[in-house]
Symmetry: C2
Subunit: 418 residues, 2 copies
């Protein structure tokens, strides 16, 4: 195993992630399909609507019978009956005739337009006057005008939103093939880490934070958290835990203790896993330089920094895109926009050329929209992070950003709750 | 029952929603708490960290022993041992002494700062030279510097994000009280509506779309969809369905057929439900003017338009805030920012004074960020909506927006998948 890889740039790591093969697919019903990624191409099996449909309450007419009609010289038409909602009418509109029709009603034979009820007056039981002409097709949704049979609706790799689910329902498609949700194991290491319920906390110990923050983060992109385990800082325990996790998970997140030794352990594990391959050993970013990415067969292993803010940042920056990639998301450039917002920087952000910086910010409202104020400070501070809304990226080839710059804030969380 | 209410403005309806009492609360573990709304005040039960903690690999020292140290005149210190990760050291730093310490290690007695290993050199087994002075507290996270015991962490009504979950974990809080998820029943009416699997589709019929789009939308703010039912367009069937739904749900969404008769039915139902109260009968918005809001005791009923786009827009505009209100979300102004993005309008949007307009838009990338192009057209077109990303609001007292205006786009979906 070659453990001596060059430090990679953030760009290089993201490109590598994009090349990951999606997991298998499964059929789900439409109620479970929102937020999932399509694993098949959807072509419209029929037209929507499949009949000419009125979009107004009024009268189905032959448009030419209304030409020239006005308030002073209305067109007079004979009412030949009424279209009932949800039914095909056996009636037909003959020249000089009109048939009453509700919004959504099926246009009867012979008619090519609908006069809005507001533009008509009733003279007697059988006659209306029309005060305004209609053009052919006016106030009618023609068969196939919304969706045409055989239209390409969606390509594989599309994230299904509520409106997309609606279109599938309209087409009578009640099951779709979507990519499987990745199963993620979260292993936390570090001799100082103890389980959350530990109380009182012994001197020198801190509670496990990363299991909870990482689990919360991965849940927001559709992944399932499986095993969550605190593992001792020794090679045997880590190898054991990884081997067990590989059986039932697609991705393993190992959040390292903060000491150098633990980080090296994560690489050493690979010698004991099947078909192991170290892909990334160090990324030119801050925080999170010691990030590790590896594969064991098709399974993915991430070595994340132990500091909670660093771990969350690397999870948001690399692990979540990886989980989307495993779910076959095709519009990969959209990663940059998922869970982000525009803001204006309130103060200068210094940075180092050749390194991508992720700086936590607090959002506040300003007259111009949102203002982003950077939080500086020791990265281990989780209390500080609860005041932060996300982070701003200072790209690799930039030496800092000026106050007043427009920036994109990457949230640690999706906008909505769940 | 007074059925003759004045048409309300969007603002008035939102203010009414804000006054709704939250549902009861329940205890959940931290893994289930992300995206939920806190129903209790959280005060820090202890300090984080609860001991002085090194944030660097290096040597714990008495800062004064390094004063004046430089490359040319390093300070010489005797190494008195090593702090082990996660343990309280029995060692103490005496004057002229240093103790090796890893990142995250507990500062030993007597020490008040940490010298980074990079600024030291080892002379022999027992002596190091320090090339740079440190100030007291340097490279140390003091006890309580992150979170101080008794600090107010979160107020009730706060939406818990991954970083907030992290802080709770750090404090040893593994269960929190959150407001209950609203249970929503979705009843679709309309003589033209048939179940999605219906094939071939009889003439004049269309498939049920709203059950699916509404269910997808409410799931994104943490609500649970319970009963979903197609109900006949008659009073008896609707009253029966509502009564059954009231037993096990907090909110009933009745998506009306497009005909006038069905909308009136929704109001008539109230005469047959216990403690019924009509709150809103018509809103000065487009689409969605015939929207109805009512209560039966503490249960909430919404009458939504039948057109899929109109129903989705009203759901996003009023029903989702209502579901957040029932979950006790306090930062109510944030509704306006949840699931939105900034963009620039590509063309003029005309509007009518005195009415709030919701206009679907397609987003595209421009040099300036995102560009929003309005979609005009017949509101029944679900195929068109799959090309749309959300909508732009033209406020009540504005007569349209000019091309180039900065607008906020309200997504029909959360930014992330699930």
């Amino acid at each position: 195993m070659n453990n001596f890889l060059k430090v990679k740039t953030a760009e290089e790591v993201l490109r590598m992630i994009e090349s990951f093969e999606p997991l298998g697919s499964e059929k789900v019903d439409l109620y479970s399909a929102v937020g999932r990624i399509l694993a098949e191409v959807i072509t419209a099996p029929e037209s929507v609507p499949h009949f000419d449909r009125s979009v107004m309450d009024g009268f189905a007419v032959r448009a030419r019978d209304t030409f020239g009609a006005s308030e002073s010289q209305p067109a007079l038409l004979q009412v030949g009956g009424e279209v009932r909602m949800g039914e095909a009418s056996s009636l037909a509109v003959e020249p000089g005739n009109a048939i009453a029709i509700p919004t959504g009603g099926m246009l009867p034979a012979g008619a090519d337009a609908v006069v809005m009820v507001e533009h008509t007056g009733r003279l007697d039981d059988e006659t209306i006057e029309v005060m305004k002409p209609v053009a052919p097709g006016e106030n009618v949704l023609m068969a196939g005008e919304d969706i045409r049979s055989e239209d390409l609706m969606f390509s594989a790799g599309k994230l299904l939103r509520p409106q997309d689910i609606g279109a599938l329902a309209a087409l009578g498609i009640d099951f779709v093939s979507v990519y499987r949700k990745p199963r993620v194991a979260i292993l936390s290491t570090g001799d100082e880490i103890v389980p959350v319920p530990t109380s009182p906390l012994p001197p020198g110990k801190i509670r496990d934070i990363n299991s909870f923050t990482l689990s919360a983060q991965v849940s927001e992109v559709g992944a399932i958290t499986g095993t969550v385990e605190l593992v001792g800082d020794d090679l045997d325990s880590l190898v054991d835990a990884c081997r067990r996790a590989l059986d039932h998970h697609d991705v393993i997140l190992i959040s390292g203790g903060s000491s150098v030794g633990v980080r090296d352990l994560t690489v050493s594990i690979l010698d004991f896993l099947p078909q192991a391959q170290l892909l990334v050993h160090g990324v030119a970013v801050r925080p999170g330089k010691p990030t590790i990415l590896a594969k064991s067969g098709k399974k993915i292993l991430w070595g994340l920094p132990g500091h909670p803010i660093s771990a969350m940042t690397i999870c948001r920056t690399f692990v979540l895109p990886c989980l989307y990639s495993l779910q076959g998301l095709k519009e990969k450039s959209d990663w940059n926009d998922l869970g982000t917002g525009q803001a204006v920087l309130t103060r200068k952000l210094p940075s180092v050329h050749g390194r991508t910086d992720y700086v936590p910010v607090v959002l506040s409202k300003s007259t111009e929209g949102l203002a982003a104020t950077p939080i500086f400070g020791k990265s281990a501070m989780i209390g500080v992070l609860t005041k932060s809304d996300g982070y701003v990226i200072v790209p690799q080839h930039v030496e800092g950003l000026d106050a007043g710059s427009a920036v994109r804030v990457h949230f640690f969380h999706s906008n909505f709750g769940r």
